[in-house]
């Protein structure tokens, strides 16, 4: 578990470092594209009044935890450390 945490965090650090070094040669055109002048003209949508016809009214309350409570073991599955999605994956 700790191992997986460390691995995941380390992989992010590595990806970040890789990304930064990969960006060097291409950063100029990318930046240029991003700072291109903002056009204020054409938009498709016309100004409209809201056309909402119905609002959400149902707000069920007492449903917390029922699904989680149904799930099987009480201790964390030892094998789940290697699984992206362990078999019991659908809480409802």
């Amino acid at each position: 578990m700790t191992n997986l945490k460390d691995k995941l965090s380390a992989s992010v650090r590595m990806a970040k470092a890789g990304q930064q070094s990969a960006e060097q040669p291409v950063s100029a055109p990318a930046a240029a594209a991003k700072t291109a002048p903002v056009k204020t003209g054409a938009t498709k949508p016309a100004a409209t009044k809201p056309v909402k016809t119905q609002s959400v009214t149902t707000k069920p309350t007492s449903v917390k935890q029922s699904a989680a409570a149904k799930s099987k073991p009480t201790s964390v599955n030892q094998d789940s450390g290697n699984e992206l999605f362990p078999s019991r994956v659908w809480p409802d």
Partner: protein, 211 residues
């Protein structure tokens, strides 16, 4: 009152942008007139809203072409809440403008290393947008969490590497989120089937609005 704008954005496809956008919009519609702007040429939000037998609780409009933050605010100022469903590309005109136009950017991330790596550009993009949108707030949101999976548990630590705040509220992987899209409704309209998911969406709204 100015429209409150949330952009749901990530470079990574399939992270849950549309799922989050549509359900957030439904939750927000209880608080005031809400519109979802579908910025993705895939048009998933629009299709979602058109699939139901009843009207979706928020208005959904798809826009394309060139637009900017000012015209967006002007055109939809009648709404209290606007949710921008961005395409899976932070370089796109839509995503760049969305970050300039929004008050809050939410970045859904799945508990998977590949999704983490693919999302790493977001902090940079947010910083870039802050040059013209100084008050922009941005949060990572964990989506499709499996409480019993070790990789889900490891996500909080890994996300710390992004140097960005992470919402405490998360979305679990639930059949209800998929069923909602299929039925053209939000999880709020699914009764007890959607209730746990609706609670999660409410928690996100409360955390974001209270931030």
């Amino acid at each position: 009152m100015a429209t409150h704008v949330m952009a749901i954005i990530n470079q990574k496809g399939g992270a849950g942008k549309t799922t989050l956008a549509m359900n957030l919009a439904a939750g927000l519609s209880c608080r005031g007139e809400t519109i979802v702007i579908d910025l993705d040429p895939q048009g998933s939000s629009l299709q979602w809203a058109s699939s139901g037998s009843k009207p979706f609780p928020a208005t959904v409009k798809q826009i394309g072409g060139k637009w900017d933050a000012r015209t967006l605010h002007q055109n939809y100022r009648a709404y209290q809440h606007m949710v921008l469903d961005c395409p899976p590309s932070v370089d796109s005109h839509a995503s760049v403008q969305a970050l300039r136009a929004c008050d809050v950017a939410l970045i859904p991330v799945l508990p998977s290393p590949i999704d983490l790596w693919a999302s790493l550009r977001l902090p940079q993009e947010v910083e870039e947008a802050r040059k013209v949108n100084a008050n922009l707030k941005a949060f990572l949101v964990l989506n499709q969490i499996e409480p019993k999976s070790a990789i889900s548990a490891a996500m909080h630590e890994a996300l710390a590497e992004f140097g960005m705040p992470v919402l405490q509220a998360t979305l679990r992987r639930r059949a209800a989120y998929r069923a909602a899209a299929l039925e053209g409704v939000s999880v709020f309209q699914m009764g007890s089937r959607g209730a746990p998911a609706a609670d999660e969406i409410e928690a996100i709204i409360n955390e974001v609005i209270g931030s």
